[in-house]
């Protein structure tokens, strides 16, 4: 075992192709699809040490390590996954994948439809959290993993974890649900809808088939990301980071970039618009809105979580107002009602929803402590 934490180093994505048709929640059927994924660490002989990482809105399969020549741009959760890190790849076999409908290699709206030879675009069906869990389970089958030591995710990723524990209780020993919610509130759906409207009303959107026109709805995607970004940060951290600082000392009395915060948001928006697919953004926000394990049975969350048998660690962050601690309390209460083993931590953090991606020592200490016991219990 490493005495110090380090990076998993160079990583290479892999692609799994699935031929068997997939019936989606919406009723649509996808004939076949690819899932791109990465793995870190080694799967042990009895295949008991696998940990699945579920990604959030803009995440992907590149969770840890780096690609050749990109040492300075590691995977999105590299600070928590690696040899000697809280999710210790010396003991666990960690899997990250790009969800179906994504835009980083898994089949999604920007992929070529084999039937037409053109990008799916608007014809790509909407997928739900439950559909993702189904595809993730198929990937697990492909890798020979029956039961995960743990499944872990933040935000929309946490919803996938919850869904796993309900749909495949026997396949999840431990569930780490971080900065998440059992379903979105009206306010949260409203933010998503404004973001979608920005994209849908961009003249370059072309009803989702912009690929054929050689354009992307950059303005819409950029606005969507700027709005999202505001909601992922707290008022305090924005104040601390930017305050009312002006790029030039005096007011320009115009509509150019004047305040630092404007500059920052535009930069974030531009960066995102260059790298993310607008249809995937729409699809991911819809998956967020639809997720509600109580919906179909018109039941309580406690009732919905009844099938779950996993042990849980639920974590929230004090300044997160998009997935507030009170939403995690709902999850915890439903788990207590079902006598599930659960621990809950509310991390004092300034960074709002984004805090779940930050290397806060207490937060990481908890994940480390929790997973140490998982490893001990499995004699890893």
């Amino acid at each position: 075992m490493h005495s110090q934490s380090s990076s998993v180093g160079l990583v290479t994505p892999q692609t799994a192709h699935f031929e068997a048709p997939l019936s989606l929640n919406s009723g649509a059927v996808l004939d076949g699809y690819d899932l791109v994924y990465e793995t870190y660490g080694t799967l042990n002989a009895d295949k008991s040490n696998a940990v699945l990482i579920c990604h959030a809105l803009s995440g992907n399969h590149h969770v840890a390590g780096f690609y050749p020549g990109q040492e300075k741009r590691p995977g999105w959760w590299d600070n928590i996954i690696g040899p000697g890190k809280p999710v210790d790849t010396d003991r666990f076999f960690v899997i990250g994948l790009n969800n179906l409908g994504g835009c980083h290699g898994s089949t999604g709206p920007s992929s070529l439809n084999p039937k037409t030879g053109k990008p799916y675009g608007a014809s790509f069906p909407l997928v739900t959290v439950e559909d993702w869990v189904e595809t993730q389970a198929r990937l697990a089958n492909r890798l020979g993993i029956v039961t995960f030591a743990a499944i872990m995710g933040g935000s929309l990723g946490g919803m996938q974890v919850l869904s796993w524990t309900i749909r495949h209780p026997q396949r999840v020993r431990h569930a780490l649900v971080i900065a998440s919610a059992p379903k979105l509130t009206a306010q949260n759906i409203a933010f998503n809808d404004v973001a979608r409207q920005a994209i849908l009303t961009d003249p370059d959107f072309h009803g989702g088939d912009f690929y054929a026109h050689g354009v992307v709805p950059r303005r819409g995607l950029r606005l969507a990301r700027m709005l999202g970004h505001i909601t992922y940060l707290s008022d305090d951290v924005m104040g601390e980071k930017f305050g009312r600082i002006l790029k030039n000392d005096v007011f320009q009395f115009g509509y150019g970039v004047e305040f630092e915060v404007e500059s920052y948001l535009r930069y974030q928006g531009d960066k995102f618009a260059d790298s993310f697919d607008a249809n995937t953004y729409l699809l991911m926000t819809k998956a967020l809105d639809y997720f509600d394990p109580t919906h179909h049975q018109r039941t309580s969350l406690s009732e919905a979580l009844k099938p779950a048998t996993a042990d849980f660690l639920v974590v929230s962050f004090t300044s997160d107002w998009r997935f507030a601690p009170s939403r995690s309390h709902e999850i915890v209460k439903a788990l207590l009602d079902n006598d599930r083993r659960v621990s809950y931590a509310e991390i004092t953090a300034a960074h709002g929803h984004d805090a779940f991606l930050m290397p806060d020592p207490h937060y990481h200490g908890l994940v480390r402590g929790y997973l140490n016991n998982v490893a001990r219990g499995l004699e890893l």
Binding site: V332, L336, D337, S343, T348, H362
Partner: protein, 197 residues
């Protein structure tokens, strides 16, 4: 493991395999002790980060929250035992808390230090607030804001619809039977809600 002297006193009343909620569970030692000696299913409530981490590291279920906010996340009568171990004296809303303990728990187990212990009385007679091994704080830095004697607590119970089923009074780990309000340092009470008249 070395158990705090009140652990064994608490454990004697906890039935095997019971479902237990420990309010202000600290580092989870009591719950771990009860899991090992009584095979309980336990949860702790704790507010301090370091204690929450200690519980998680011990594999003790812990819910990080402020007890002062009440137990609204817990269903009535959903626990066999709700324990409040040497925490009462540091709480603001005692009446609400005791009511919540007996709403959520079929039984309450409450331990309190005795402000009326004879050495404490001597210190007050001498003109000073008590400071001792068990109450090591000065008046200005103590987290303990609601001191009582055993007699006071028992009066409180009588006046608040709380039935005292059993009590165990101790001084440095030994049982005290003679003049307990004078010679006892720590009391462990088993409580339940008195049926309305």
């Amino acid at each position: 493991m070395i158990a705090r002297s009140d652990f064994a006193a608490i454990a004697q009343w906890v039935t095997p395999n019971a479902k237990v909620l420990d309010l202000g569970c600290g580092d989870g030692s009591l719950l771990k002790y009860l899991a090992e000696t009584r095979n309980i299913r336990g949860y702790g409530i704790e507010i301090a980060d370091a204690n929450v981490l200690a519980c998680v590291e011990k594999n003790v279920n812990v819910i990080q929250m402020d007890l002062e906010a009440g137990l609204s996340g817990f269903e009535s009568q959903s626990f066999d035992f709700v324990i409040l171990s040497q925490t009462l004296q540091a709480m603001h809303h005692i009446e609400q808390l005791v009511a919540e303990i007996l709403r959520v728990g079929k039984h309450g187990i409450v331990t309190i230090p005795n402000f009326g212990y004879w050495r404490h009385r001597l210190q007050v007679l001498g003109g000073h607030m008590p400071v001792s091994k068990d109450l090591p704080y000065q008046w200005y830095d103590t987290p303990n804001i609601h001191f009582c004697t055993f007699a006071d607590f028992e009066t409180f119970c009588r006046d608040h619809g709380v039935q005292m089923l059993e009590r165990h009074i101790m001084c440095d780990g030994a049982s005290v039977t003679v003049l307990p309000n004078l010679f006892g340092k720590l009391a462990v009470y088993r409580l339940e809600r008195r049926a309305p008249d």
